[in-house]
């Protein structure tokens, strides 16, 4: 279970103040940007939690904090009771992070890439080959497993990225707009993969802009606006709360709401 407790994050502004910022972007006081303010929610085990919000609302910052890449200014979060600020290494052992940017080393083969991250996660040699074979079969990667990453198609790269995310069998998977730039078939494969993770009892934090993906996958959603939580509940509750019949409209209503 993930418990996010009153997380806030502020940055010092650097350089000149930009004009024409989105209304949805975080509040700025003097030279300090409040990217997140007092964000609190929970995600139960085996749940897909949709993380919604317009551009600049703080979704990526929140995911970076939960994945321990950034430290919160105040507040904290726990993964099955393990605090992200107290024990970040232990948290990293339990999470897998998948984004639209596949983040692959082009000069490594798909197999070398997966092996490299398996070793970073401390997987022992005798377990390594079996685990990689499992992932190759799970994601149908056999035909390109020994090809260099920079020669692979977008869909193949995303599969390697998924294998890298899953190689240490994490309890929590964070997914940041994973279908961006993929064709329909590749995007569908990703969504099927996310769905299959739920059936295996994994907790999934799923950041997306596509409401049909939310409708298809999410058990619960949290929505951010200007760095603050503006809604938390199920997709149906989101419709009821906004009085809309489609999630796209409900999203826009929440994104444009004042206050």
């Amino acid at each position: 279970m993930i418990e996010v407790k009153a997380i806030s994050k502020s940055f010092k502004r650097r350089g000149k103040k930009r004009k024409g910022r989105f209304e949805s972007e975080p509040a700025t006081v003097g030279s300090v940007v409040h990217a997140l303010t007092d964000v609190t929610f929970t995600a139960e085990k085996g749940m897909i939690l949709g993380l919604l919000g317009p551009n600049g609302a703080g979704k990526t910052t929140l995911l970076r904090i939960l994945s321990t890449a950034l430290n919160p200014t105040t507040g904290t979060a726990t993964f099955d009771g393990i605090d992200i600020t107290q024990n970040p290494l232990e948290v990293r052992r339990r999470i897998g992070f998948l984004s639209d940017n596949t983040g692959l080393y082009g000069r490594l083969t798909a197999r070398e890439m997966i092996e490299y991250f398996a070793r970073l996660h401390g997987i022992e040699n005798h377990k390594l080959k079996r685990r990689i074979d499992e992932l190759i079969d799970l994601l149908a990667m056999r035909e390109f497993i020994d090809k260099r990453n920079d020669t692979l198609s977008s869909g193949m790269k995303q599969k390697v990225s998924i294998a890298r995310t899953l190689v240490h069998d994490p309890d929590v998977i964070m997914v940041d707009e994973p279908t961006t730039g993929l064709d329909v078939a590749a995007a569908d494969a990703i969504l099927q993969f996310i769905d299959s993770c739920r059936t295996k009892g994994k907790t999934i934090l799923f950041s997306t802009h596509h409401m049909h993906e939310v409708d298809r996958l999410c058990d619960n959603v949290v929505m951010l606006r200007q760095g603050r939580l503006c809604f938390t509940g199920t997709p149906k509750q989101m419709l009821a709360h906004t009085g809309q019949t489609h999630l796209d409209k409900a999203f826009l209503t929440l994104a444009e709401a004042v206050g």
């Binding site: 890449a69 950034l70 232990e90 990293r92 984004s99 940017n101 983040g103 692959l104 890298r164």
Partner: protein
């Protein structure tokens, strides 16, 4: 990284030295075409040019065509002897012979070789005049012409002289290689990782950030130090093989540069490469893209080159002040080692201070790498 110091630089050095020697030999031995006007007024001079090897007389119509003939390389030089030459000589006056040549051609020895031939006649005529005055032997003439002479006694041995000249160039190569060897790798493993998105995935691995920094630092340190040591080794091999071909004082000089000297030069390049590795990693991890990192590396390159170039300037010596100036001290110390005049107490201070700077910079890099404003700079 491996090709440059092991093959390209030695090959370039061999080609450069070979080409320079070939050009010098050509300039000394090539046949120079020349024109002479007024030869009838001083026929002895014409005879000298005919006797000397390497000159070929060419007839051109008028002295007005000299410039055109030299520009078109029909001739390399021309001599114009004035009509009054014989009369001037008989009256014991001075004759001025005009020598025309292309003085924009630096490598040409045309004027030197022509002047040398003219001096033969000048010396001959001077000796005739001195004989008439009663100075009929070489010693008495020399005493008349040079009442006071200087006998120079340079205290430096050949190794010092050669070390002073070569010793500026070699540290430049070693230091630049330890910097350039790490630069492109640094751009790739810092800004390149950011650009590709692999840095963020790496940061999410259950590995402490100091270990990631140390890993990246070791890669850069290894490439920098390997590059510099390969350059040092290849130059050492060139000196040891070419040293067998040369003879005399030069052979003594090359033999006197021992393995210990090269080991000490290598020892100084180790902390230097560590300093560069830390600086390059800081810059690269700060940059948002490879292009930006390259943009920042250019001024750093200048910061590295300038002290090395200053160390090459005449009059810049290793002392307790220059020993405390990073990079310049390494350059000067390498020079002193090659000259064989190293003060080993200063060497120890330089090594110690460079290791301390390298350590401080590595600690700074670790702190720098932990800053969110650097890693996630937008």
């Amino acid at each position: 990284m491996f090709l440059m110091p092991t093959i390209i630089v030695p090959v370039l050095m061999n080609v450069l030295v070979g080409f320079t020697m070939h050009m010098e030999k050509k300039a000394r031995t090539e046949t120079l075409r020349y024109a002479i006007f007024g030869e009838e007024y001083l026929p002895e001079l014409g005879e000298v040019f005919e006797k000397e090897q390497g000159f070929e007389k060419v007839n051109i119509s008028s002295p007005n065509d000299i410039n055109t003939a030299i520009a078109s390389e029909e001739i390399r030089f021309a001599i114009v002897i004035p009509e009054t030459s014989r009369q001037q000589l008989e009256e014991s006056n001075q004759v001025t012979i005009r020598l025309y040549y292309n003085n924009a051609t630096v490598a040409s020895m045309a004027s030197t070789r022509a002047a040398k031939a003219i001096r033969v006649i000048s010396d001959q005529l001077r000796n005739e005049r001195l004989t008439k005055l009663g100075f009929d032997n070489k010693q008495s003439r020399n005493n008349l012409l040079n009442p006071v002479t200087i006998e120079e006694h340079g205290t430096a041995n050949m190794r010092e002289i050669l070390g002073e000249r070569l010793g500026g160039m070699l540290p430049y190569l070693f230091i630049i290689f330890s910097f350039m060897g790490a630069m492109y790798t640094a751009i790739d493993i810092g800004a390149g990782e950011k650009e590709r998105g692999t840095l963020e995935t790496l940061l999410l691995a259950p590995v402490p950030r100091c270990q990631i920094v140390l890993g990246k630092f070791l890669v850069l340190f290894t490439t920098g130090v390997t590059s510099a040591l390969l350059c040092l080794t290849s130059i050492g091999l060139i000196l040891s093989t070419k040293g067998k071909e040369v003879t005399g004082a030069m052979q003594e000089v090359l033999r006197s540069i021992g393995v210990i000297d090269f080991v000490l030069v290598g020892a100084m390049l180790i902390p230097t490469a560590a300093i560069f590795a830390s600086l390059l990693l800081c810059i690269s991890i700060y940059a948002r893209s490879c292009r930006e990192a390259g943009f920042y590396c250019t001024p750093l390159n200048m910061v590295v080159i300038v002290p090395v170039v200053i160390a090459m300037l005449p009059g810049i010596e290793l002392n307790w002040i220059t020993a405390l100036l990073p990079v310049m001290n390494i350059s000067l110390a390498i020079k002193e080692l090659l000259k064989g005049t190293m003060d080993y107490l200063i060497l120890a201070v330089i090594l110690g201070s460079t290791f301390i700077i390298a350590g401080v910079l590595l600690a700074f890099t670790t702190w720098w790498f932990g800053r969110e404003a650097v890693l996630f700079r937008e």
